[in-house]
Every structure is written in C-alpha cells, then in structure tokens.
C-alpha cells in the first residue's frame, strides 16, 4: 500500500523536508543540526532549550536562517520565535553556537560569531544550556 498524503494543513511529513535541508545553510535546520552535533544533544534537549514542541521545531527548521552579523539579527530571531512560539533568547543562543562553530570550521579567522557566542554565554542569555560535559569543543 502506498503512502497516503492526507494531512494537509498540518506539518506532518515535513520532517522529511527538514532532513533534506539540514546541510543547506539557507535554512534554520542547518543551524539546528550543527548545534545538536556540537553539543551532542538530541531533539528533545533542543525542544527544552527552545521551550517548544516538535511541531514548532519543524516549523522553525524550515525558516530562513538569519545572518548573525546582520544588525537586524535579534529582530529577525524575535520574528521567527514569535512565528514558531519558542524562546527567542534560547534561539539566539543556538544560532550563536552554530555560527561560532561554523567560523571555527571555516578557518576564516573571523571570530565575531565566536566572540558573540562567548559573550551571550557569559550573560546567561540562553538560559537553558546544553550538558557542558558532553559538549564537543574544537581543538585549539
């Protein structure tokens, strides 16, 4: 029996699309995937960080990833958080962590994302932190 595509209007089935966008930096799903890899956490943990349910996580993943160097970054994140009903500060923390990781991995010498992530962390902005002893840190 083939699949039935009947759940119009819900985001059922969109997890398939989310999986296929996680390597695409255009989408938030890319940052979420990076964050999960860096912090070695799963979706459940991420939902705790963001204060949202699975449906919101899928909606979030398919949003456009904002540029953390853009002056309107916080405003855009707030807009996304309002749309998906999640914690905006938690979301900023996730984006900053992912951006910091990307900066390190690219080896561009651009440390703005990393510094901002560190600053956010010191300010306790993210509120809900991942399990630090599980966090993978890049070698210096």
């Amino acid at each position: 029996m083939g699949k039935e595509y009947v759940e119009k209007g819900s985001n059922a089935g969109l997890d398939w699309l989310v999986r296929h966008t996680k390597n695409d930096p255009f989408f938030v799903s890319h940052a979420l995937a990076q964050y999960k890899a860096i912090c070695d956490v799963d979706d459940e943990h991420l939902m705790g960080v963001l204060g949202c349910n699975r449906r919101a996580l899928i909606r979030l993943a398919l949003c456009r990833l904002p540029d953390d160097r853009d002056p309107t970054f916080r405003q855009v994140v707030q807009e996304i958080a309002t749309f998906v009903s999640c914690n905006a500060d938690g979301l900023i923390g996730v984006f900053r962590e992912a951006a910091a990781f990307a900066s390190l991995r690219e080896g561009t010498g651009s440390t703005s994302g990393l510094l901002i992530a560190a600053r956010d962390r010191n300010a306790g902005e993210t509120g809900h932190r991942p399990n630090r002893h599980k966090t993978k840190r890049p070698k210096r």
Binding site: M1, G2, K3, Y5, V6, E7, K8, G9, S10, N11, A12, G13, L14, W16, L17, H20, T21, D24, F26, F27, R59, L60, A61, L62, C63, R64, P66, V76, E79, I80, F83, V84
Partner: protein, 201 residues
C-alpha cells in the same frame, strides 16, 4: 488550499527575504504537492521519488523565488510543474544508472525504484542555472520540462507524451506530435547556442 491572494503575498514575502515565509509555504503546500504528484504517478506511490521531487522543486523556489513569473501561472501550478520536471529528470537518471549497472537498457524502472538510494540523485547548481535559462526560452512550462529532458538525453516517447498530455492521441499520432514538438524545442536550443548545449540536468 489558500486562495490566490495568499500565494501572491507569500511570493512577495519570499522575494523580500521574509524569514518565516519559507516555513509557511512548505506547511501549506507540502502535503498537497505530494498528493497531486502521487496521483499523477500512481506507480511511484510509496517511493521516495515523490518526496524528493517535491522537495527539490520547493527548495529551489524558496531559495530563488525570482525564477517564478506570476504573469505566467499560479504559484501552486508552478511548483507542481517544477516537481514534475524534477521527477522525470530523476527517473531518467535512475533509469540510465540502472541501465549501466545491469548492462542492458530494457529495465522497467517502476518495478523497483525503492532499490535506488535517493541520496545518489543530485541536483546541482548547474542544473538550476540551466532550468532558469530554459524558463527564459520557453513560455510554456511544459516545454521547459520537455527541453530539460531533451538536454538530458531522454528519448522515450512516453516521457514526452506525459509532459504534453498527449495520452488521448493514437500511438502513431503521439509519435509524430512528440517528434514535431521536440524538433521545435531543439531548434530553440540550437539558436540559443553553446551556452546550454551539452548540459545535463
């Protein structure tokens, strides 16, 4: 389904870089596109070809909304047409690959598409560029899809019959009509020159 005004608005928002428009659009059209494409290709139900094609079409549009011309057709119709094109390209590629793997050409793809890892079907940036070019060369989206298949080396009459909706014609007439239309497309492609010739989708 949302009304036309909603689709016009979501298109404008995507053009403007709205960060949540992509998610809203995906949520609205994903299931409907899957269902529509599966209804048109019942033998592919239960395979990942359908999801892959819809996903490719949707992501391509979300990232480059300017490729859609609202003057030509509705957005949902455009996405469905685009997904159909991606599906046919993926099937043609899979068929060729299978032909190479087993060493003969008469493989019936539809008998076992589940065996083909979907992650081996890659749509490159170049393919997107070619598709955008085709959109400028052919006013009719069906011709765009057919031109993509021509460039991809697809020779099966059935593929073109499906694209142009010629199923009701007698077999001989189908052949003639497909040939006539393919010749017209080839002429346009020839006129366009080397910029597109030899590209593979």
């Amino acid at each position: 389904m949302k009304d036309d005004a909603w689709f016009v608005e979501i298109h404008e928002r995507l053009l403007g870089g709205d960060p949540v428009a992509s998610s809203e659009l995906a949520e609205e059209v994903w299931q409907t596109l899957l269902r529509s494409l599966a209804e048109k290709n019942p033998r592919l139900r239960g395979t990942e070809f359908i999801e892959q094609a819809v996903s490719d079409a949707l992501i391509s549009y979300i990232k480059r909304p300017a490729q859609y011309d609202p003057q030509k057709r509705g957005l949902f119709g455009f996405l469905l047409m685009s997904a159909e094109g991606d599906l046919r390209n993926a099937l043609a590629r899979a068929k060729r690959r299978r032909g190479r793997e087993v060493g003969f050409d008469s493989v019936e793809l539809e008998t076992g598409p589940r065996n083909i890892p979907i992650d081996t079907i890659e749509l490159s940036e170049e393919a997107d560029a070619v598709r955008r070019t085709l959109n400028t060369l052919f006013a009719d989206p069906k011709d765009c899809v057919a031109a993509a298949l021509v460039l991809d080396g697809e020779r099966s009459t059935e593929s073109y019959v499906g694209i142009w909706g010629l199923e009701s014609l007698p077999a001989e007439e189908q052949k003639r009509e497909v040939k006539r239309r393919k010749d017209r497309i080839k002429k346009v492609l020839e006129r366009h020159g080397k910029g597109i010739r030899g590209k593979r989708l």
